[in-house]
Amino acid sequence: MKVIEVKNLSKTFKVKVKEKGLKGSLKAIVKPKYEEIKAVNGVDFDVEEGEVIAFIGPNGAGKSTTIKMMTGILYPDSGEISVLGLDPKKERKKLAYEIGTVFGQKEQLWMHLTPFDNFKFFAAIYDIPEKTAEEKIAELTELFGLEKFINTPVRNLSLGQRIRCEIVASLIHEPKILFLDEPTIGLDPVVKENIRTLIKKMNKELKTTIFLTSHDISDIEKLCKRVIIINNGEVVLNDTMTNLKYHYLNKKIIEAKLEKSLKLDDVQGIQVLKNSNGNLKLEIDTSVTNTSKILELLGLDNIKDINISNIPLETIISDIYRKEQSK
């Protein structure tokens, strides 16, 4: 069942253009000039119930604008959005009961209150009766491991603890969809891993659909089965992670230790990254040649040790961003 349907969504921002200096400022008062920036331009996609989807793109690609239109924060100029069968533009309040949002860069909690008081406040916002709220808080406290700091003011918590509390606050009303906008920003690797485990758990145990944006490719690789890449306000890729790797992984890295050094500069489909004293590092374009041919070329008896790996997903995604940017 589709829980999000976005069709031909567009949003333009009017930005005042000012020439430099005082003269420019005076000119802007007398005759202001505006520039139209298409933040989102004809975006289409769907999200199935229970999916964990990555919505990624470089800075200024239109990710946040799209999420804000889906959550009812911004009004689109044209196009249709249906989230759980509701139009965010017309039914913002009704939709708010069904979705949760965590903006990694924006604080939703009261800093001087304890997480427990904050959760009670959020429960009141969502009209949850006291007893039900306390039961839900207890359940989420256990699930997210907040027992040790549930009664410590938020301002005294570490960033990782605070993000966990932010996520719990957005889950109090049992949302069907959770929008996570860079939830792991600024966190250390251990806490990041912890947050990822919790997101997985939440998706599995609470059956929450997760709509995730992140610049951290590990978040996407470890959590999402499908990825939507947006650039310059347009969807440039909407595919499963498996397909993304399959279609874009036409390059492999071979690192080998050889008995005798070889000269491979003239071989087609190979780029020699390092070749000294029998230590060899190659990048192979598998659309031109293949790994077995290279192994033959190196000679099995000549190989002391070998490691064959894929190009990191981060490089693939950066390549997609760059290709689209240069269009």
């Binding site: 921002f13 946040s64 804000k68 959550t71 009812g72 924060i73 911004l74 009004y75 913002r92 309040k93 009704k94 708010a96 009961y97 979705i99 949002t101 903006f103 860069q105 924006k106 604080e107 939703q108 909690l109 009261w110 800093m111 001087h112 209150l113 008081d117 406040f121 009141a124 916002i125 969502y126 009209d127 301002r155």
Partner: protein
């Protein structure tokens, strides 16, 4: 519908309670803020006492009645800055794109925003207003009327601020308009209306409606008149309607931001 209103009121008061708790973190600052505001308000009375020692009445009012202008003005200021404090920085909130957190909540955006913080010194204004009423001569009737008028006035002052701040949806920096109107409201509120004539009087009952929130209530506390009483209620509802209409009309033009924001 009724449940929704009840829940909205519950969340609003909870928000005010939490904002108040934040201000109470430093007990000493909290107490001095309240006390110094009472002293500050009281200091202005001295000039009127001096003036009335030279003249029997000003603009048709005696000293105790002039004190009522101060009492009502302080009460209105207290209510508006305690319950709707953020209405006075709404322009910045709009310009800086800080409405996001309120827009994802299933509650009225405008009420949630304006009640998300309190001014501690406003408690001093509120207390001072009642002290003045005590000096004027408190009865059950004028206590209830006074309370009703400062609530209406506080709401109207906040609504005027919302109207002028909401202009930020169309052009940035409408806070200058808001500041000017608010300053005029405060400045004119403490003078008896009898001294104003002609165009000034018209302005004081329309664009800068001090007359509706301050002068008429003072007159009603001295001599009750049903028609004028209904006019106060009508004006309150009118400005409230305009505030909601203009804010929500402007909200469609809202452009958020990606600023790093912390709710301190």
């Amino acid at each position: 519908m009724l449940t929704a209103v009840k829940n909205q009121i519950k969340v609003t008061f909870l928000s005010i309670k939490y904002a108040c708790m934040r201000q109470m973190l430093n007990k000493m600052t909290f107490i001095t803020n309240v006390l110094f505001m009472i002293l500050n308000d009281a200091s202005f009375i001295v000039q009127w006492i001096v003036l009335f020692s030279l003249k029997e009445n000003v603009g048709g009012y005696e000293l105790k009645q002039v004190l009522l202008f101060w009492g009502i003005a302080a009460g209105i200021y207290g209510i508006s800055r305690f319950f709707f404090y953020k209405a006075f920085s709404l322009s910045d909130i709009i310009n800086e794109g800080k409405l996001d957190a309120y827009l994802v909540q299933p509650k009225n955006v405008l009420i949630s925003v304006i009640s998300s913080d309190v001014s501690v010194s406003a408690i001093g204004d509120l207390l001072y207003g009642y002290i003045i009423l005590l000096i004027y001569g408190i009865t059950v009737e004028n206590f209830l009327l006074y309370t009703f008028f400062i609530i209406c006035g506080g709401m109207t002052v906040a609504n005027i601020s919302i109207i002028t701040s909401s202009l930020s949806f169309w052009f940035s920096k409408s806070d200058a308009v808001m500041d000017t109107v608010n300053t005029l409201m405060v400045n004119f509120a403490t003078y008896p209306d009898g001294i104003f004539k002609g165009i000034t009087k018209i302005i004081l009952y329309t664009i800068v409606p001090v007359g509706l929130v301050n002068y008429i209530p003072v007159r009603l506390l001295i001599h009750f008149d049903l028609k004028l009483f209904l006019a106060v209620i009508g004006a309150t509802l009118f400005f409230m309607g305009c505030a909601f209409l203009i804010f929500y009309k402007g909200l469609k033009r809202y452009s958020s931001s990606n600023l790093m924001i912390s709710k301190i």
